[in-house]
C-alpha cells in the first residue's frame, strides 16, 4: 500500500476542523498550523513523486455497495506529478497568505476553506474512478465559490461567488450525466476499466462521443473556456492568494486534468479532438485579446489564464497530452508568481487599476522582478519554463493543424503585448501616486522568490522525473515554430514598448482619432458581450419563471396543508382507479 498517496489528500481534509478550534485559542497558532499542514502535504507530495516507480491503483473496501463503488486512488505519472506540483504551489500560497491576510477578519473561515480546497483538489487528482472524481470536483467548486465571496460584506464579492457557482454548475451537470452514462454502459467508473473498454472497443462510437462531449462541457465550465468563462474575470473579487490558488494550483486545472485523465477516450475520436481544439483555440485568442485592453490588473491576469488554458486545450486537441501537462505546470508556476506579485502591488497601494499606478519598480524591486519574470515566461522566452511547454504544443500543432499553430503564434504576440503593457503601466514610467509604496513584508517576498527560481529553473527539475524529460521536449520542438514564436514575442514586446512606454502621447492620439480602435476596445472591455447576453437571458427567462414559482408559495400553513390534502386525495383516487 502506498500510504503517501492516501495521506496527501486526506491530511489537509482531516485537518480542516482543527483550524477554527485552534483559531478560538489563538490566531497565530491557527495560521502556523495551516502552514505546517500544507508544508507537510507538500513534503508528502514531493516524496510521492520522488519514490514513484510504477503505476498502480489501490482501492478500499466497498463505499457504496449497490454501485459496486470503492474509494480508489490512481497512482501514475500524471497524478503523482500533479499532486507534487499542486501541494508545493499551495504551500507557497498559504505562506504568502499569512502576510497578505494579516489583520483581516474571518481568518478561521479563510484558512479552513483553503485547506479544504487544497485537500479536495489533491483528492480529485488522486481519484481512481469518475464518481470519486466528481465528488471532489463538487467540493472544489463549492470551496472556490465560498472563497471568491470571502469578503462577504461586499455585494460584488457575494455576486462573483454566486456567479462562479452558477456558471460552473452548467459544466457540472454535463459531467454528472457523463458519469451516469459511463456507469450505466460499463457498470463501473474506474479509469483502468474505462481505458480497457475504450481499447477493445466495447463501447459504441456514438456513446463514446456523447460521453466525450459531456465531459468536455464539464471541463469547459471548470477551466473557464468560452462560452462558460464568464465567472473567471469576476472571480478576482476574492483575496489575491485565493485568485492565485484558483488560477494556478487548483480550480481551473481540474478541467484540464479531467481531459488528460480520460485522454484515451478522446484520442479514439477525431470529432472529439477537433472539438477540444476548437474550444481551446477560441478561448486562447479571446482571452489574450481581452487581456490587452483590460484595466484591472487582476482582470488582465484572469483573461490571461483563460488564454493559457485555451493553449492547454489545444495541446490536448492536437494530441500531445504530455505537452498539455507540461503547460499546466508551467502556467501554474508563472501565473502563481504573477498573482502573488499583483497581490503584493495591491497590498502596498490598495489599487487595482493599472492606469492609476506607475513607477513602482523603484521601491518594489522583488515584486517587479517576479512580475517581469512571470511575463517573460508567459510570452515564452527561452529557457524560462513557459517556453518549453508552449512551443511543444505549437510544434505539435504544426504537424497536425497548421491554422491552429498560426493562432498560437498570434496569441503569443497578444500575450507579449498584454504582459509588457501591464509591466510598463504598473512598474515603469512616472508614478501617478503621491507617495511610492514600500515593499511588502518578507513573508510575502519569500514565496515570490521561490517561485521566480522555479520559473527560471523548473525545466531542469522536471527533467528529473519520468513523465516530462527534457529529451522528449527537445525532440518535439521544431525550429520553424520556435523561430516564429520568438519573433512574435519580439513583435508583441516591441508594440507594447512603443505604445505604453516610449510614445505614449502618439498612441493616445492614435486611439482618439480612430473610431475603429475605440469600438474594438470598448467591446473587448465588455468581454465581447457574453455577460450582457447572459444577463439578458437571466432577466427575461429565469426571473419571470422564478416569480411564478414563488407566487405559488403563500407561506400560510392552512393553504399548504390543503394542497397536501388535495394531492393525497389525487393519489388515493389514482390507486383506487387502478384497483377497481
Amino acid at each position: 500500500m502506498i500510504y503517501a498517496a492516501w495521506l496527501v489528500w486526506s491530511l489537509p481534509i482531516i485537518s480542516v476542523p482543527f483550524v477554527p478550534l485552534l483559531g478560538a485559542i489563538n490566531g497565530k497558532i491557527r495560521n502556523w498550523f495551516t502552514v505546517c499542514v500544507s508544508a507537510l502535504t507538500a513534503i508528502i507530495g514531493l516524496y510521492l513523486a520522488i519514490t514513484f516507480s510504477s503505476l498502480s491503483s489501490e482501492s478500499s473496501g466497498l463505499w457504496i455497495p449497490s454501485f459496486n463503488l470503492r474509494i480508489q486512488i490512481e497512482v501514475d505519472g500524471l497524478s503523482v506529478l500533479l499532486s507534487a506540483f499542486i501541494s508545493f504551489l499551495s504551500f507557497l500560497i498559504v505562506l504568502y497568505s499569512i502576510g497578505y491576510m494579516k489583520g483581516e477578519k474571518g481568518q478561521s473561515r479563510y484558512y479552513s476553506l483553503i485547506l479544504l480546497f487544497i485537500g479536495s483538489m489533491l483528492g480529485l487528482v488522486m481519484a481512481g474512478n469518475l464518481v470519486q472524481l466528481y465528488f471532489f470536483w463538487e467540493l472544489v467548486g463549492i470551496c472556490s465559490a465560498f472563497l471568491i465571496a470571502f469578503y462577504n460584506d461586499k455585494p460584488e464579492a457575494r455576486r462573483a461567488g454566486l456567479k462562479a457557482f452558477v456558471v460552473t454548475r452548467f459544466g457540472d451537470i454535463a459531467l454528472f450525466i457523463a458519469v451516469l452514462l459511463v456507469l450505466s454502459t460499463l457498470g463501473t467508473t474506474d479509469f483502468d476499466s474505462l481505458n480497457v473498454a475504450i481499447g477493445n472497443h466495447s463501447i459504441s462510437t456514438s456513446t463514446t462521443e456523447l460521453i466525450g462531449i459531456l465531459i468536455l462541457v464539464g471541463a469547459m465550465g471548470k477551466s473557464a473556456q468560452v462560452p462558460l468563462h464568464v465567472w473567471l474575470p469576476d472571480a478576482m473579487e476574492g483575496p489575491t492568494p485565493v485568485s492565485a490558488l484558483i488560477h494556478a494550483a487548483t480550480m481551473v486545472n481540474a478541467g484540464v486534468y479531467l481531459l488528460l485523465r480520460v485522454f484515451p477516450l478522446f484520442s479514439t475520436s477525431e470529432l472529439l479532438l477537433s472539438l477540444v481544439t476548437a474550444v481551446g483555440a477560441v478561448s486562447m485568442v479571446y482571452g489574450a485579446a481581452c487581456a490587452v485592453v483590460a484595466e484591472d490588473l487582476k482582470r488582465i491576469l484572469a483573461y490571461s489564464t483563460i488564454s493559457q488554458l485555451g493553449i492547454m486545450f489545444v495541446g490536448i486537441g492536437v494530441g500531445t497530452s504530455l505537452g498539455a501537462t507540461y503547460h499546466l505546470i508551467s502556467q501554474g508556476l508563472f501565473k502563481a508568481l504573477a498573482f502573488l506579485a499583483a497581490g503584493s502591488v495591491l497590498h502596498a497601494t490598495g489599487l487595482r487599476n493599472v492606469e492609476e499606478m506607475g513607477g513602482l519598480r523603484r521601491t518594489m524591486k522583488y515584486t517587479y522582478i517576479g512580475f517581469f519574470l512571470s511575463v517573460l515566461a508567459m510570452s515564452g522566452l527561452p529557457p524560462l519554463i513557459g517556453f518549453w511547454s508552449k512551443d511543444w504544443i505549437a510544434s505539435t500543432a504544426l504537424t497536425t493543424n497548421v491554422a491552429v499553430s498560426v493562432l498560437i503564434i498570434l496569441s503569443t504576440i497578444l500575450t507579449a503585448l498584454y504582459g509588457f503593457r501591464a509591466t510598463f503601466k504598473v512598474f515603469h514610467g512616472s508614478s501617478k501616486l503621491e507617495k511610492l509604496p514600500v515593499e511588502s513584508p518578507s513573508i510575502m517576498i519569500l514565496p515570490m522568490v521561490i517561485l521566480s527560481i522555479s520559473v527560471v529553473l523548473g525545466w531542469l527539475v522536471l527533467d528529473y522525473q519520468p513523465l516530462l524529460p527534457l529529451f522528449n521536449v527537445l525532440k518535439a520542438l521544431d525550429f520553424l515554430t520556435v523561430g516564429a514564436s520568438l519573433t512574435a514575442l519580439v513583435i508583441g514586446a516591441g508594440i507594447a514598448y512603443l505604445a505604453f512606454q516610449s510614445k505614449i502621447e502618439a498612441t493616445q492620439r492614435l486611439v482618439l482619432q480612430s473610431p475603429l480602435i475605440q469600438k474594438t476596445r470598448k467591446s473587448l472591455l465588455e468581454g465581447l458581450g457574453f455577460d450582457k447576453l447572459y444577463g439578458f437571458l437571466w432577466t427575461r427567462i429565469v426571473l419571470p419563471l422564478s416569480n411564478v414559482a414563488s407566487s405559488l408559495q403563500t407561506g400560510l400553513l392552512g393553504i399548504n396543508a390543503a394542497l397536501m390534502l388535495l394531492a393525497l386525495l389525487a393519489v388515493l383516487f389514482l390507486l383506487a382507479s387502478r384497483v377497481f
Binding site: 403563500t554 407561506g555 400560510l556 400553513l557 392552512g558 396543508a561 390543503a562 397536501m564 390534502l565 393525497l568 388515493l572
Partner: protein, 102 residues
C-alpha cells in the same frame, strides 16, 4: 395481506386525512401541533403494520419506537416555538402571523 393489516392501514389513512384536514381548519397553533401528531400516529401505524405476518416484525416495531421518541421531541420543540411566538406576536392564529412573508 392479512385482513387485520388492512384494518390497520385503513385506520392509518383515515388518521392522516383527519390530521391534514384539521390542520387546514385549525385557527390555533396548539391545535395545529395536535393535528400534526395525529398525522405522525397514522404514519407510525403504517410502519407498525408493515411488519405484520413477517418473521422480522420486531424490525418495524423497533422503528416505530424510534419514531415515537422523535415525534415526542419534535412536539416539545414545536410547543417551545409556540410559546415564543405567543410572546412575540400575542396571538396563536397562524393566519395572522405573516412576518415571514414580508
Amino acid at each position: 395481506m392479512p385482513s387485520d393489516q388492512v384494518v390497520f392501514i385503513v385506520t392509518a389513512v383515515v388518521l392522516v386525512f383527519l390530521g391534514l384536514a384539521s390542520m387546514v381548519y385549525s385557527r390555533n397553533l396548539i391545535k395545529t401541533v395536535m393535528s400534526f401528531q395525529v398525522i405522525v400516529f397514522g404514519a407510525n401505524l403504517t410502519l407498525f403494520s408493515s411488519g405484520m405476518g413477517s418473521s422480522q416484525a420486531y424490525m418495524s416495531q423497533t422503528f416505530v419506537l424510534f419514531s415515537i421518541f422523535v415525534g415526542a421531541s419534535v412536539e416539545a420543540v414545536a410547543l417551545a416555538l409556540i410559546v415564543m411566538i405567543h410572546k412575540k406576536y400575542g396571538t396563536l392564529n397562524p393566519w395572522e402571523i405573516r412576518r415571514l412573508r414580508h
